[in-house]
């Protein structure tokens, strides 16, 4: 049998690790050893793993700093919620509606990704970062103005530009259901998401991202990251490949958003603000840029950390901040790196990734 490449081995180990972790947690859940608080973490952890993996595609693999990733999550969440709620009568089965919601969320986020990506990817470095930040804020504000309802005639959508309109301006029938109430966000959302669905989404995201990275397209994207001019000179279409990475990432973030949105009874658009984008960026940087399994682990650990620190009550976010700063200082400390390098002998032929 042909020997597997190292990267292939790492990919399979990632799939196996995620599956094992899922089975373990699932067994614990069935065995009743998880508290209710812990159970409520499961779906958000899955969503944030997908968010981190997808952002890693942009920040780590494609090398663009994006500060507006929560915007795509928001688009996915609200379009997913509208899909799931408006199809309540047409499709009674919950899992099917969840699947449709995730797909619609991904498609809407991908379209937004194209709209944002085409102008944004002309810019570079910190300018690109600030424009993605700006788009994130714009998306949040626009969704904040949205009022959506559903009755037998279909969807009713109005745009609350002056802040004076409410659900009654939709002129729905008596039986109509309000889905998004402007600044009050989405209300009465059915909880369709489950841990199993979250696990499946994580696996799909991993398969998509890892296969993209190892493909010809992925190599082109990384070549552009490492040296744009050299990549261009060997005939790589820079805009096309950067856009592929950006839109794929947006679509996955949308899917994660739909999963996240359908896990709660209600959802505010301010849930997906600048801080959420930053949170996901922290997962990606601490997990390691371009390191997909690192993102998975970092998202899980860093989601649980503030929750686990609840015992410290008011001090928990302070502790979180201190841990964050200390980890950044420690991982970038030359002496510590040299010490670790001596303790862990490098394998022959292993690439150093300093």
């Amino acid at each position: 049998m042909k020997k597997l490449k190292t990267t292939t081995k790492i990919d399979f180990a990632t799939y196996a690790g995620v599956t094992l972790a899922f089975l373990l947690v699932y067994a614990l859940q069935q065995g009743g050893s998880l508290t209710n608080a812990m159970k409520s973490w499961l779906v958000p952890i899955c969503s944030f793993i997908v968010m981190a993996v997808s952002l890693n595609l942009v920040v780590g693999i494609s090398g663009e700093l994006s500060l507006g990733h929560a915007g795509f999550m928001s688009v996915g969440a609200f379009s997913g919620i509208v899909t799931a709620m408006s199809l309540t009568n047409a499709i009674p089965s919950g899992p099917v509606r969840l699947l449709l919601a995730i797909l619609v969320g991904a498609v809407f986020a991908a379209v937004t990704g194209v709209i944002v990506g085409v102008p944004v990817l002309r810019l570079r470095g910190d300018y690109l970062a600030i424009v993605t930040l700006a788009f994130g804020q714009i998306i949040k504000d626009l969704i904040n103005c949205l009022i959506v309802g559903y009755d037998s005639h279909g969807l009713h959508i109005i745009f609350n530009l002056d802040g004076l309109r409410s659900v009654s301006d939709l002129h729905m029938e008596e039986t109509g259901v309000a889905i998004i109430k402007g600044a009050q966000g989405a209300v009465g959302v059915p909880k369709l998401s489950s841990f199993f669905a979250g696990y499946l989404l994580v696996m799909v995201a991993l398969v998509i991202v890892l296969n993209l990275v190892r493909s010809r397209t992925g190599r082109a994207i990384m070549a552009i990251r490492d040296n744009r001019i050299a990549a261009e000179s060997v005939g790589i279409n820079v805009t096309k490949y950067r856009l592929i990475a950006f839109v794929t990432s947006a679509a996955l973030a949308g899917a994660a958003g739909a999963l996240f949105g359908l896990n709660y009874g209600g959802l505010l658009s301010s849930r997906f603000d600048f801080n959420t984008s930053i949170l996901v960026l922290v997962y990606v940087v601490l997990g390691g840029l371009g390191n997909i399994w690192g993102s998975v682990i970092a998202a899980t650990v860093l989601y649980i950390l503030p929750e686990a620190l609840r015992g410290f009550q008011d001090y928990r976010m302070l502790l979180y901040a201190v841990v964050l700063i200390l980890v950044m200082l420690a991982t970038n400390n030359e002496q510590l790196k040299a010490l670790l390098g001596r303790l862990i002998p490098k394998r022959k032929g292993a690439k150093s990734n300093g």
Partner: protein
């Protein structure tokens, strides 16, 4: 004359953004880092001034000076503890550290002063002549605009005429070469942080005087807006930060008045995007040709 009232409030808001943006842009120009904790220094400045006026009963001018002094020390300490060890690290690592510092300041403020809003008595409240008052020009606006102009002129003179200013310009151009010429780069960076933080304290006091409330997250949104203003004007450029801040304030005020209160922020950011697409380095930013 409603238009003038909106214009004045826009210029006043823009002046606050400009003062914050000056701090952002100087730090960016010299340390090449996005200091996301800058907005929270504003908040600390506001709280220090509040405490010194309400608890210590110090006069206004002394309170402002005290808050500037505390923020200067805070800025230098943050730089020394959190950013200095990361001089050689990737810019992303520094960015995340800055975010950590921002969380730290916000949560520390929440522990010390609580989440309930503090009512900030304006430091710049005096009776205005009647005809100016009818135009909607408040005393706070006058003081804010005047402070901004003074700071702008002083800073330009400092950077262009003094030896320290020359050192700062040299460091922002090429740190290695500056060091070879005998400039103490670390000291220069600390000085930049000190000036930026002192300006943030002034901005905090003025901001709180205009809005009268103070919470631990007071600085976040103005921080992001000022960052936008700095990029808008061309990050790293001092006149650019001034122009960007002013324009951003006016656009925000006009958008609130004539288009939509809900979408005012979105409109500000949309204008930024359009400007960057037409002029990718901001209004007054220098385009640096790419070396191959």
């Amino acid at each position: 004359m409603v238009f003038f009232s909106y214009l004045f409030s826009g210029i006043s808001l823009g002046s606050v953004y400009a003062i914050i943006a000056l701090g952002y842009t100087m730090v960016y120009g010299i340390a090449k880092m996005l200091n996301f904790a800058h907005g929270d220094i504003i908040m600390v400045g506001g709280y220090i001034c509040y405490c010194s006026m309400s608890y210590l009963g110090l006069p206004v001018l002394l309170s402002v000076l005290l808050s500037m002094a505390v923020c200067t020390v805070l800025g230098v300490v943050i730089e020394g503890l959190a950013y200095k060890p990361l001089r050689q690290a990737s810019s992303l690592a520094v960015l995340i550290t800055a975010i950590g510092v921002s969380y730290f300041l916000q949560n520390a403020a929440q522990l010390i002063w609580g989440v309930t809003p503090k009512i900030f008595t304006s430091v710049a409240s005096f009776p205005m002549p009647g005809d100016l008052n009818s135009l909607g020009l408040s005393s706070e606006a006058v003081v804010t605009i005047a402070s901004c102009l003074i700071i702008m002129v002083a800073l330009t003179l400092f950077v262009n005429k003094t030896k320290m200013g020359k050192a700062m310009r040299a460091c922002s151009e090429d740190k290695g070469a500056a060091q070879l010429m005998g400039i103490n780069v670390n000291k220069t960076i600390s000085l930049t942080f000190a000036i930026g933080s002192a300006l943030a304290a002034v901005a905090g006091v003025l901001l709180c005087s205009n809005y009268n409330t103070l919470i631990p997250t007071t600085g976040s949104m103005p921080g992001i807006k000022a960052f936008t203003a700095a990029v808008f004007g061309g990050i790293g450029s001092i006149p650019g930060a001034f122009l960007g801040g002013l324009l951003l304030g006016i656009i925000e005020s006009m958008a609130k008045a004539y288009i939509s209160t809900q979408l005012a922020n979105a409109i500000v950011f949309a204008v930024l995007i359009v400007v960057l697409l037409v002029k990718p380095t901001g209004l007054l930013g220098k385009a640096v040709p790419e070396k191959v």
